[in-house]
């Protein structure tokens, strides 16, 4: 955490990419354990059963969980991007009419050039709190929305930096990544709730049924020691699953924010502009009420303006979609410092 600020922008990108990869691998493995791990335990438990008894050979549980996840993800993919825009009441800029709008369109075009992307569609959210977000599943069909408050608050350079951060999200396909993770978290939560409700009812209904199930489970030494250990681990995993999957998804989200900051710094070659923009946004107290929590991970700053951004508490950090502002600003300043020190860059603004 402390030496992060000593990295230049390309090293920052590299470091955050690597971390997301590991986090996502961890997430997928945990998800697979929750699903197919249960099948494994059941398989081990019924392996030694009598020939005519039930043997668990087909991993229906893992497939069911994966299927639910895939279904939610599919739904999220097909409705998510447009729904977010619709929910904020954003209006698209087709022909800019005011000076500010003209500037915004120009800035977005400039940053699209710097990012090597086609120009995204531009939307304005009628909200006085400064914030911005990007959405769209493909880098070539993206949307960028900014609030009125942001347009009023930021200078041209700062606006550019914010747009660059959002285009960083677009280029990294973060919408797709976070929608998928959110769907898997949702699938786990759904199964968790369903199972605990079923279990609760089953216990209340009495032992008659569960006794029958138990005899099927194989009293005849079917459950080996390994299977029992795995079963306990698996049940424990499920008890903690909603929490763990959420924490992992949030951790990925925070890494993606750092990555988008570093991408933005690459596009503008001006990390300090984003640092000052973040300072200004943090200074504006009010939450962005028009942006719903579902789109929080795509914003430049957490729309709720949660206390995690203000106080660098240890525990509260784990639940934020965004890293603490102070940490982001410190890293951006580090990038600016590295840039000054090496003087390897050329100034894009003067061409």
């Amino acid at each position: 955490m402390t030496d992060e600020a000593g990295l230049n922008l390309f090293q920052q990108q590299e470091a955050n990419r690597r971390r997301t990869t590991w986090l996502v691998i961890g997430f997928v493995l945990f998800f697979a354990w929750l699903g197919f791990g249960g099948d494994l335990v059941y398989y081990l438990g019924t392996k030694g059963a009598e020939p005519d008894a039930y043997r668990h050979t087909f991993p229906w549980f893992g497939l069911l969980l994966t299927g639910i996840g895939a279904g939610i993800a599919r739904y999220g993919f097909s409705t998510g991007p447009t729904k977010v825009l619709w929910a904020t009441g954003a209006t698209e800029i087709l022909e800019p009419t005011t000076d500010k709008e003209r500037q915004l369109v120009n800035v977005v075009e400039e940053m699209a050039i710097a990012a090597g992307l086609p120009r995204p569609r531009i939307w304005i959210v009628p909200d006085a709190d400064p914030n911005a977000f990007a959405t769209g599943l493909e880098a070539t069909h993206a949307h960028i929305a900014v609030t009125h408050g942001l347009l009023d608050l930021c200078s041209r350079d700062e606006l550019q930096a914010v747009i660059a951060h959002e285009l960083g999200h677009v280029k990294n396909l973060d919408v797709r990544l976070m929608t998928t993770l959110a769907a898997l978290v949702g699938a786990v939560a759904l199964m968790h709730d369903g199972t605990s409700r079923l279990l609760g009812r089953g216990l209340r209904l009495g032992g008659g049924r569960s006794g029958g199930g138990g005899s099927r489970g194989g009293k005849k030494g079917g459950l080996g020691q390994l299977a029992i250990i795995l079963l306990v681990l698996w049940i424990l995993s499920w008890i903690l699953a909603p929490l763990i999957t959420r924490l992992l998804a949030m951790a990925v989200s925070r890494k993606r924010e750092y990555l988008a900051d570093a991408m933005g710094a690459q596009f503008t070659r001006n990390p300090m502009a984003l640092a000052t923009a973040l300072q200004k946004i943090e200074g504006a107290e009010s939450p962005t009420s028009t942006i719903k929590q579902g789109a929080a991970h795509l914003c430049i700053a957490d729309p709720l303006g949660r206390r995690t951004n203000l106080r660098e508490g240890r525990l509260s950090n784990f639940f934020g979609t965004h890293p603490p502002m102070a940490a982001r600003i410190a890293r951006l300043k580090g990038m600016a410092y590295q840039r000054l020190k090496t003087e390897e860059g050329w100034s894009p603004a003067t061409g």
């Binding site: 075009e109 050039i113 710097a114 690459q266 100034s347 894009p348 061409g351």
Partner: protein
């Protein structure tokens, strides 16, 4: 039997990797070419914008003829240089564009001196357009350099470099500032020593 199966799997992995490395290089090559063309597009935008700008301020800046004429002249030279642009005459194009940049920045300084001119909506809009165009040129060069660097690195790194010949990948040149004056770091003397 087992041995040949393993050999087959290893072979398949190598072939699959080769295909993806080859495609990656081709992809980067085309991206680099596209990024290079983008610079041209933005330069053209600048050339088209200048006549509008000049005609908007002509009336109010009659007494600054020299500055305006310098801009127009530099613009025409840049257009002429760009017309027969090719890999060989890159230097000429860059020189003409740098001249135009210099003329435009002098023009901007002059406009700053006329607050009533700046207040006119039209001029303000055109200035925003000019700022944006200058930025776009800068950013398109930066994007080209970033892509070209990525392309060059991939060509040199092991094991992608084994497929560089197959993909006919050759190192792409980076866009550099050719004008010595632009590159020079401004010398600021803060030592407060009396000049000898």
């Amino acid at each position: 039997m087992g041995g040949s199966l393993i050999l087959l799997i290893v072979l398949a992995v190598v072939v699959l990797y080769g295909i993806s490395a080859y495609n990656g290089l081709i992809n980067l090559k085309n991206q680099t070419l596209n990024a290079f063309k983008q610079i041209d597009v933005q330069l053209k935008r600048r050339h088209d914008l200048i006549p509008n700008l000049v005609s908007a301020v002509k009336g109010a800046m009659d007494f600054e003829r020299q500055t305006l004429e310098a801009v127009i002249q530099a613009r025409n030279q840049a257009v002429a240089a760009g017309a027969n642009a090719g890999p060989g005459v890159m230097k000429q194009v860059a020189a003409a564009e740098n001249q135009l940049s210099a003329a435009l920045s002098r023009f901007n300084v002059v406009v700053e001196q006329y607050p009533q001119l700046k207040a006119t909506g039209n001029v303000m809009q055109l200035q925003e357009e000019l700022t944006s165009t200058e930025n776009r040129i800068g950013f398109s060069r930066q994007a080209y350099n970033d892509t070209a660097t990525q392309y060059n690195t991939k060509q040199q790194q092991f094991p992608t470099n084994l497929f560089a010949g197959l993909a006919k990948a050759t190192p792409a040149e980076l866009w550099e500032i050719t004008d010595e004056a632009e590159r020079a770091v401004p010398q600021v003397d803060l030592s407060m020593k009396p000049k000898a």
